[in-house]
Point group: C2
Chain length 324, copies 2
C-alpha cells in the first residue's frame, strides 16, 4: 500500500504545469486543498478516463489525453450552463511510463485548464495496473442551472454542432472504418480533442425558462433518453434533421447509426420552449444549432424519417424507452 | 467507449443505499450535482482505492471496502480539522462482479457516509479492468484549518492512538506474518476498517495557534517528513515513545519498523506549541494521545532510542530528509 517511488518528483513536475489561482487558498501538498467559498450554488461532477477503455496511448499524444480528461468534465459543467472553477485530479499510474509522459500529460491538461479558467487545487497519485485519470470538477451557475428534468411537451429539441463525428473517429483509429485525408483528420480530431461547449451552455442558461439540457457523451439517442426519463416525457426525432459534418458524410455516407448512437461528441442537446429560429439560436450561442425534433406527451421516443413513418431503431443505446 | 450494460439498474441500486441531504439541491442523475454554497472556505480532497494495490476482495467484505474508500478521504478532512460534507464517487467496475457485490459495497459506503454526516451528491460509473473506487470529498473548516507547513522548532510531536497496527494487519492478510486469535482480529480490523479521526481533528483545530497536522496514511516517518519539508524544520523522534498496541507487541514484539514505516493507520500526527500534557490532550480529544518527539531547527529527522544515541533508520519511506 505504498505510493510508487518518485511520487514527489512527479508531483513537483506536475505542479509546474498546472495553473494556480487566487481562489485556491492552499494548493497541492497538504491533506486537502482549501478554496475560497463563493455565494453561488456549487456544481460538482466527476469523470474518469481509463486506458484500454476510453483511450489507447498510440492514438494520440499525452498532451491530448490530459486535455481530454478535463474536457469530458468541462462538458458536464457546460450541460448545466455553468462556469468551471476548480478541479482535483486522481492519477492512477501503471509501470512502464516515462516521467516525460506525465510532463506532457499535465502540460496538455494545464493548458486546457488555463483556457477554461480552471484552477487545479490538488490531487492524488496512486499505483495501478491501468493508467486512469479521474477528475472531480467544481463549477458555479450564474443564474439558473439547466437540468435534465425540465423538458415539456411541445419543446423543440436542438443540438449544437454535428453528431457522430467522434464515434466515427474512434472507429477510424480502431481500423474498423477506412478513411483518409482531411476527412479522417477532422473525425479523429473530434474524438481525440473534443471541445466542451462552455460558452454556448452559459448563454443557453440565460434563456427563461432555462432549457432542459444534456451533453452528448454516451450518444444522442441514449442521452436524449436520459432527458426524457428524468422529465417524464417522450420525443419524436427526425432522422434527416440530425446534423452531420461533411467529413461524416464523406466517410459514412447517409448512414445515421453513429450520429444516433455514437458517443464522445460533447455537443449539447437542449429542449427549448420559446420559439427561436435555428439561425437566431446559432447567432446567439456562437455555434451552429440544429432542430432535430420535438418533445411529446406520450412517453416513448420515435425516430421518424422524412416520410413521417416511424423507422426501426437499429442503434443500441438507451433501452428504457425504445422506438416501437 | 460505452458504459457497461445495466448501468441504470446499478445506479438505482446504488442510490438506494446513499444518504441524501438538504444541502444537495440536485443529486445523482444529472450532468452535475448542485450543492448549496456555504460561507466557510471549502476543503477538497480526492483519493482512490485500486484492487490489487490497496485491497483484495478476499480480504474482507464489500461493505468494509465501501466504508474504507470513504474513510481514507474522511481522514484527509480530519487532518485539516475539518467537517466533511459532500462527496462524489467514481466507480470503475471490471467484469465478473455481481450486482449484489455493489449493493453491499454501497451499503457499507452509505452507512459510513451517514455516520460521518456526508451526503453523496453524485458520481460516475465506468468500465475498467480493475475495480477502483475514487472519491472526491468536500468539507468545511469552522475556524482555522490545520496545515502541514506550520510546525515550528520547539513544538512537541504527538500521535493519536497506536501506530503500525494496520501495516501489521496487511502483512497478516498477505500471510507474511503469522498471527492468531484476538490480536490477529484487532490488527486485521485496523487495516480493513480504519476510523478517520474527525472529532479529534475538529477539537485540535480549535487550539490557538492551530497545530501543524497530517494523517498517517503513508507511514509515520514518511508523513512526518511531509510536515518537516513543508514547514522547513527537522525533528527528533524517540523510538521508545511510539505508541504500540498490545496486539502489535504480541505479534511483532519490540520491533518498531512497521510502527515507523507502515501506512493505513489513519491516526493523526500533530505538532503543538502550547505545552499541554498527554493526559490533558487525551481527555480533550477523546482519544489516547502520545508525545513522540520534538520539532528541531536543524533540517533533518533523527530517530533516537532511550539512550539518546541516534539510531540507524531501517525503514524505507521518506527519503528527502533521512536520519544520519
Amino acid at each position: 500500500v505504498k505510493e510508487p517511488p518518485g511520487e514527489f518528483e512527479l508531483i513537483a513536475r506536475i505542479c509546474a504545469h498546472l495553473p494556480q489561482s487566487r481562489r485556491v487558498v492552499l494548493g497541492p501538498g497538504d491533506d486537502c486543498a482549501i478554496v475560497a467559498s463563493s455565494p453561488e450554488p456549487l456544481l460538482i461532477t466527476i469523470d474518469s478516463m481509463v486506458e484500454g477503455v476510453h483511450f489507447k496511448l498510440e492514438w494520440g499524444t499525452p498532451a491530448m489525453l490530459g486535455a481530454k480528461a478535463l474536457a469530458v468534465n468541462l462538458s458536464d459543467i457546460a450541460a448545466m450552463g455553468g462556469i468551471p472553477t476548480i478541479c482535483v485530479i486522481n492519477l492512477a499510474i501503471r509501470p512502464g511510463l516515462d516521467p516525460r509522459f506525465f510532463d506532457e500529460l499535465y502540460r496538455g491538461l494545464g493548458k486546457a485548464a488555463v483556457a477554461a479558467g480552471v484552477a487545479v487545487a490538488g490531487g492524488n497519485i496512486t499505483r495501478a495496473n491501468e493508467l486512469t485519470i479521474t477528475i472531480a470538477l467544481l463549477g458555479k451557475v450564474e443564474t439558473q442551472p439547466m437540468r435534465r428534468d425540465s423538458a415539456r411537451p411541445g419543446d423543440k429539441i436542438y443540438v449544437t454542432g454535428t453528431v457522430g463525428d467522434a464515434a466515427l473517429g474512434l472507429r477510424i483509429l480502431q481500423n474498423k472504418i477506412p478513411a483518409a485525408g482531411s476527412a479522417r483528420d477532422h473525425l479523429v480530431k473530434r474524438f481525440l480533442q473534443p471541445t466542451a461547449q462552455i460558452a454556448p451552455g452559459r448563454k443557453l442558461a440565460r434563456i427563461k425558462p432555462p432549457p432542459a439540457a444534456i451533453d452528448i457523451s454516451d450518444g444522442l439517442w441514449q442521452d436524449l433518453g436520459h432527458v426524457l426519463e428524468r422529465s417524464g416525457v417522450g420525443a419524436k426525432v427526425e432522422s434527416t434533421a440530425l446534423p452531420l459534418s461533411a467529413a461524416y458524410r464523406q466517410v459514412y455516407g447517409d448512414n445515421r447509426d453513429l450520429a444516433l448512437s455514437g458517443g464522445d461528441d460533447y455537443e449539447l442537446l437542449f429542449c427549448l420552449r420559446p420559439r427561436i429560429s435555428e439561425a437566431e439560436l446559432s447567432r446567439r450561442l456562437g455555434v451552429k444549432v440544429g432542430c432535430i425534433g420535438e418533445i411529446t406527451r406520450e412517453k416513448r421516443a420515435l425516430l421518424v424519417s422524412g416520410t413521417g413513418k416511424p423507422a426501426v431503431m437499429r442503434n443500441r443505446g438507451w433501452d428504457q424507452l425504445r422506438a416501437t
